[in-house]
């Protein structure tokens, strides 16, 4: 029994980080209606920034100090997101959806290979003691890997913060209005361009933060983003477009499903289970498992 609970816990812990990435993608997808094929490459960038900054301040990087990089990396990623938005996404607004596919796929190549130029193709990992530490609860025989636990908690806090921002502030209302109808929102005095900019910047920033949180867990290489990319699309749709809480719950659900199937059946079956779930949700519950409104398109 405790083995099963352990599997669930592992799923929930990784699911929390999935949630954070998915919330970022959901913001962009929900507000602008574009699939960002490069999203998880920004995650990879976040990981590399963490790596480089941590090697710069090598003495600081004992224990949990790596999480101190969240703020600088988040700021860098937000700025990168804004720059990408202004230089590349903005000129394409109003175009066919196909344009965005091409653009983000092209961007994905560019980002991956620029990373390869700067950091080479060989994997690196962050030198912190935290990755080998874990909390063992003897009474219930459960292990909590510390890095994953911290990642989960920080991800959860950020997801709640963005949820608050979207629901309780004027800026959030403007973003949500834009995602429902750009036209109507602009009649009501919302500047859709500003909503797009902030949504895109925040989306990329969350991918970057997820990168920091995952950097003590995984080794880092230029193509690591592709291992997450399709799973994150699945989470966004399972949770429901424009549903921040939906994306969060779906992230946890996918984490759990992946771990149960991967541990009890076969590792290769885990993605199959996730994508089957994804297709079933699209067909049977188009608004997403946790969505309430009907889906556009």
């Amino acid at each position: 029994m405790s083995g099963f609970i352990q599997v669930i816990i592992n799923g929930v812990l990784i699911g929390g980080v999935y949630s954070l990435i998915a919330v970022g993608l959901n913001l962009i997808f929900g507000v602008m209606g574009i699939i960002n094929f490069a999203h998880c490459d920004f995650l990879m960038l976040g990981m590399y920034f963490t790596y480089s900054l941590s090697t710069l301040f090598i003495n600081m990087m004992s224990g949990a100090a790596v999480y101190g990089l969240i703020i600088p990396v988040a700021i860098i990623m937000f700025i990168i997101g804004v720059v990408f938005y202004i230089t590349m996404i903005k000129p394409l607004i109003g175009r066919d959806i196909v344009s965005y596919v091409l653009l983000t796929v092209g961007l994905s190549y560019v980002i991956q290979n620029i990373a390869q130029i700067f950091w080479t193709a060989s994997p690196v990992s962050i030198n912190t003691t935290i990755k080998s530490q874990s909390i063992y609860l003897e009474s219930v025989d459960l292990v909590f890997p510390l890095a994953k636990l911290i990642a989960f908690c920080i991800a959860l806090v950020i997801v709640f913060a963005i949820s608050y921002l979207l629901n309780k502030t004027d800026l959030g209302r403007a973003i949500r209005a834009t995602s429902e109808s750009t036209e109507v929102a602009s009649y009501l005095g919302v500047n859709p361009g500003r909503s797009y900019l902030i949504a895109f910047g925040l989306g990329i920033m969350f991918a970057g933060i997820a990168g920091i949180l995952l950097s003590p867990v995984y080794s880092i290489y230029p193509r690591i983003g592709t291992t997450f990319a399709t799973t994150i699309f699945a989470i966004v749709v399972i949770g429901g477009l424009g549903q921040i809480k939906g994306a969060m719950l779906a992230g946890l659900l996918v984490g759990i499903v992946e771990n149960i199937v991967g541990s009890y059946f076969a590792l290769d079956l885990a993605p199959i289970a996730v994508f089957t779930l994804f297709i079933l949700v699209m067909l049977l519950k188009p608004a997403g498992l946790f969505g309430s409104q009907t889906r556009k398109a």
């Binding site: 094929f37 175009r95 190549y109 290979n113 399709t230 994508f275 297709i279």
Partner: protein
């Protein structure tokens, strides 16, 4: 039904004489040059097949690597495991691809726009994992190798000269192109175009979008699987990463989008741009800056194309010729 192949005849003649010319002009590197052209024709053919569903009906599919893999694996398994002629493998591949397209389309065409695309990504990923899961037959991640035959045999599709595979592929390309044109000018083609413009309006005119799209998807899948079969007999090695990956699926669609989604020449132009571009950047910058520069340039070109040529390279060529014909004012 009349199909205008006028534009294609010079191209086909060019491709037919290409290996001969190459061996005269580049006697030292002619194998490489012919291989490059082989890849261009391969992407042209896959792109043309993809165009039937992605261009005519604007249903952007990212599942086509799966159909390519079906053809490759059927041929490889038929020949290697069961000692059957690859021709049987090709036919089996076509049948399985049709069935797979039916399954994928059955579910995915209930969805529209981006959600259709996402669904095809999911099916592509599921198929990719299945290849690993049934490693007993597919060789799993390490793939399958076809033993080299010592003698040339048309029945076993084993040729001493690589040029033979080139001509085989060229034949497949011509057939695919003609089928694509036939579909475009048939009732299905007109229905597909109506669906592209406005699915609801098309439905109100008595068109059944779901069935029409499914038919087009199956035709497209079957044609793609044939290319996969040729790939397997030509290169004699396949693994999931090279024939079934998400990357390949994206590349197939991207070739067409770069060329232009508006006409059957789009995929060909796209292939003539994208394949040499990747080759050239690899050849010149393959070892520069940790090997990252070549693909960076490739990506930059993609981004530039999408920003400055919204409807693909073809639109640029077409608008130029139009301008020459009718003066500047027609371009509004």
């Amino acid at each position: 039904m009349k199909i205008n192949l006028k534009m294609m005849i010079p191209l086909i003649i060019f491709l037919l004489i290409f290996p001969t010319v190459a061996s005269l002009v580049f006697p030292n590197v002619n194998n490489y040059v012919v291989l490059l052209m082989f890849n261009i024709i391969m992407y042209s053919t896959m792109g043309t097949a993809w165009y039937i569903i992605g261009g005519l009906a604007r249903q952007i599919s990212w599942a086509h690597a799966a159909f390519f893999a079906v053809g490759a694996y059927s041929t490889m398994i038929a020949y290697q495991r069961f000692g059957l002629t690859p021709w049987l493998g090709i036919v089996a591949g076509m049948g399985i691809a049709a069935l797979l397209a039916l399954i994928i389309g059955f579910a995915s065409f209930k969805l529209h726009g981006v959600f259709f695309s996402l669904s095809t990504i999911a099916f592509g990923q599921i198929f990719y994992r299945f290849l690993h899961l049934f490693g007993e037959y597919t060789g799993g991640a390490s793939g399958l190798i076809m033993r080299k035959s010592t003698e040339s045999s048309f029945i076993n599709l084993q040729f001493a000269k690589n040029d033979s595979y080139y001509y085989l592929l060229l034949a497949v390309f011509v057939i695919t192109y003609i089928i694509c044109k036939l579909v475009e000018n048939s009732r299905i083609g007109y229905c597909l175009k109506a669906i592209k413009e406005n699915e609801i309006a098309a439905e109100s005119l008595g068109i059944k979008p779901y069935e029409i799209k499914l038919k087009a998807f199956i035709i497209s899948a079957v044609l793609t699987s044939i290319v996969g079969s040729i790939f397997a007999v030509r290169f004699k090695f396949i693994d999931p990463a090279s024939v079934a990956s998400h990357d390949l699926a994206i590349r197939i669609g991207m070739t067409v989008i770069v060329g232009g989604l508006a006409s059957t020449e789009g995929p060909i132009i796209g292939a003539f741009i994208m394949v040499p571009l990747l080759e050239l950047t690899n050849a010149f910058f393959g070892n520069v800056l940790n090997g990252g520069l070549s693909q960076t340039l490739y990506g930059v070109v993609l981004v530039l194309i999408v920003i400055f040529m919204p409807n693909g390279v073809l639109s640029l060529i077409k608008s130029k010729t139009k301008r020459l014909k009718y003066g500047k004012n027609t371009l509004s």
